[in-house]
Amino acid sequence: MTSARAEARPRAGAGGAWWPALGIAAIWIFLGVFLVYPLARIFYDAFSDDAGRLTVRHFVDFATDGFYRRSLWNSLVLGLGTVAATSVLGFAIAMLLVRYDFVGRSLFSNLTLIPIVAPPLVGVLGFTFILGRAGTVNVLLMDWFDLLTPINFVYGVHGVLLVETLHLFPMITLNVVDALAKIDPALEEAAESVGAPGWWKLATITLPLTTPGYVAGALLVFIWTFSDFATPLVLGVHDLLAAQAYLNIVQFVDRRLFRMGIVISAFMVLLAVLFLIAARRYVAIKDYSSLSYSRVARRRLSPARQVLAILFLSLVMLASFIPYVGVLLASVGRGWSMTPVPLHYTLQFFERVIVETPKYVVNSFLYSIVAVGICIVVGVPIAWLLARTHVPGRDVLDGLNTLILAVPGTAIGIAYIRAFHEPPPGFDRGLTSFWIILPLVLAIRRLPYTVRGSYASLLLVHRSMEEAAASVGAGRLRSFRDVTLPLMWRGILVGSLFSFMTSLQEASAVLFLSLGGWETITVGIFSFYIAGSASEAAALGVILLVVAAVTVLVINRVAGTRMGGMFG
């Protein structure tokens, strides 16, 4: 009896062994074809000429062109400026939220997350409605103070800086809040006991300990700003690298300009790789600093200081929510011009973008649902491999997943155009001629959210729970189905919802790859706005806002978690 069992076991094991291997192979092929190959292709194209010879000529061209040098300089200044501004804002808010107690603290800690989950393209639109030349604020100023010429709040690099800062500061806040909360109070007490004054302790102990989380957040802010072309173009700024990359790629006429676009996107991928290296370097410290027994106690602020804190946070929130009010008003206002708010209201723009031309909404939902399907099929197994196994290449898998977070949509959009334009052997058209390219690029872009969500909840399912199931006779698949899955579905759901919402919001990669008939909501917003139909753009924007709001509510209801950990 015993010997019969002992014989039966290995055969069953050997019989099933090639299925997992096949699955792992499928994951690698997917990542290889749709992530590694396009990114590698960008580098190859940046370093080769039309005949396929290796050359650095494109970089020399880039470096000798005064316009590109200025654009690069502008992009760097804008990126660093945004990092500086978001850092000041993000740190101040994080310190207030973690270290001090005041009326409305928990409300503010929820509110500060919202800008990051709002669709960025919609944010820009809103600023133009409220702060533009004929926007609410200028109209009021002209009415009240007899201002003759409107103040230029947003058109120009300073406007891009403002919009990006108010959109991205939660990226810093989230990471710093996380790091601050993990600091062992004894580390600060030790500094006090040897005589460090408060500000010195902050500068030499507290802030350095938040560095790992901060660096990850700051790099993402920089990469985002550096590679965002929609915001500058809406605000009329063209001499930035990302804007040039977009204009150069979509014109399809001048091959030299096209190459410049590729060189620029190679820069962006390089930045993303830099992010990956930095993120890896800090992992060790991150682990160490989480070795804490308790939390630093919150200090209750004096009434006067509470008023200051609340005033400061309210101002930031007000500024962050301006665009949404603007978009809402613009979407229902008829003939809104030269008045602070619209005088006549209508639903005709919603009718136009939902009933008359439903393609934007239909396409967006179709592509995003397919994308989330791919995310789950590929992402959950990746999470399982990362959390539970030591398969060869596990580190690379982890690295690729982190890399995706940092590769900008602009770069991956350009990469896909280059990589999938030519028909593969045996086909007469390339993949870029089929709409499935859009769900594929969305799935790659949003894969990390599904992986991270699933991974986090897998870590909560202690291995011994699965082992306990195995000890009472459940096979691996069976224990996964009966024990692991019921305990981790929330994580998968949260990650998937997040992937879905951000897929709907994706602008840059989709703008590059979308062809006639495939227009998504974001493509609609962009083209309506550029064509001067701001109201239709606003109506589409409101749809994205509603989806974002509903998704965040559902995520909070399902998981009761904050969205920390999703961004770095």
Binding site: L187, E189, A190, S193, I205, I285
Partner: protein, 357 residues
């Protein structure tokens, strides 16, 4: 420098973490606060360090009242339970952090760093980061960081609790030697009674924020003043009873085992409820001492240095009896009837501060 606490109290919300603690710690003494978790020992240490301000009472370091002073002006050195080494700084940077704040010259800082590293046997590791050190090494860096400032008082908060058992013994001995060499007044917090006994000049046992007894280790073990102390320090057999009479040469107590002669602690009054406490190593199998009890063997456990019998005496009273030198002892089988004897000098009659259980 000597330390004096006068009726020091600290409340967190409604609970008194430290309740009217009064202590005198002599110059150069290694003084231990011992008790279970939540007894207030760490709170009391942090009151001395200055991380908390007392709600009432006074704290004196030498002739200076310190209870309203910030930690860094009290001239203390503190070692935290998890060492609290700054992970982003090297060993050298950790140790010299406080020296730099005191604006000492570069040569003086270098001299003190070298001296500090030598004291704790860490020479050569100055440029490592804490994450690259073993637990024992980290512990010594924390000690060096506290000592280089030449503090008047050294405060140690469960410094050994995160170390492996073997290293713990070694570091324990090192701390004791170092403390004796430097002659520095030291307050040591632990929940490990063996550690407290082996290390300290004197020990204070705490429960629920109250100091129950302050005594040298030997007195604490041999003459505990209450049931809680007798139970927390070492192993003990307890038999509840009623005190019959108390005299200078001994007391008699009515228990389920019959009338037993013993030594009464303070606070035991004739006619009052009390408890008999005898340690297993003071009980002998067979006739011995002036108290004899009939019992039956339940279980024998081999402990290496002793063989411990669990026996049941009259009225279901269970006793633990140690046979030292098990090598020359023929084990008794379960169920076998035995006589258990103990001397009245080893039988303590204590107030029962744990409860009638």
């Amino acid at each position: 420098m000597n330390i004096a606490l006068r009726a020091v109290s600290k409340k967190f919300g409604a609970t008194a973490a430290v309740d009217h603690a009064t202590l005198d710690i002599a110059d150069g003494e290694l003084f231990t606060l011992l008790g279970p978790s939540g007894c207030g020992k760490t709170t009391l240490l942090r009151l001395m360090a200055g991380f908390y301000r007392p709600d009432g009472g006074e704290i004196w370091f030498g002739g200076r009242r310190v209870d309203d002073l910030a930690p860094h002006v009290r001239n203390i050195g503190m070692v935290f339970q998890n060492y609290a080494l700054w992970p982003h700084m090297t060993v050298a940077a950790n140790i010299t952090y406080g020296l730099k704040l005191r604006k000492l010259s570069t040569t003086e800082i270098a001299r003190r760093l070298a001296e500090g590293l030598r004291k704790v046997n860490l020479a050569g590791l100055a440029e490592r980061y804490p994450g690259q050190l073993s637990g024992g090494q980290q512990q010594r860096v924390a000690l060096a960081r506290a000592l280089v400032l030449n503090p008047d008082i050294l405060l140690l908060d469960e410094p050994l609790s995160n170390l492996d058992a073997k290293i713990r013994l070694q570091v324990r001995a090192e701390i004791r030697t170092l403390q004796k060499d430097l002659g520095i007044t030291t307050v040591y917090v632990t929940h490990d009674q063996e550690e407290a006994l082996s290390l300290s000049d004197r020990v204070a046992v705490m429960r629920d924020g109250v100091i129950l007894q302050t005594a040298p280790p030997r007195e604490l073990y041999e003459r505990p003043r209450s049931r809680f102390v007798a139970d927390f320090v070492g192993v003990n057999n307890f038999v509840p009873g009623v005190c019959r009479d108390v005299a200078a040469d001994g007391a008699t107590i009515d228990t389920a085992l019959g009338v037993v002669r013993g030594v009464a602690a303070d606070g035991v009054t004739p006619g009052g409820r009390c408890v008999l406490a005898v340690r297993p190593e003071n009980l002998v199998v067979g006739n011995g001492g002036d108290n004899i009890v009939e019992a039956r063997v339940i279980l024998a456990s081999y402990l290496g240095h002793a063989l411990r019998y669990d026996v049941e005496a009259a009225a279901g009273v269970r006793l633990k009896v140690d046979v030292r030198d098990p090598l020359h002892h023929q084990p008794l089988a379960a169920g076998q009837r035995v006589r258990i004897g103990f001397g009245s000098s080893a039988a303590l009659v204590l107030t029962d501060d744990v409860g009638a259980s």
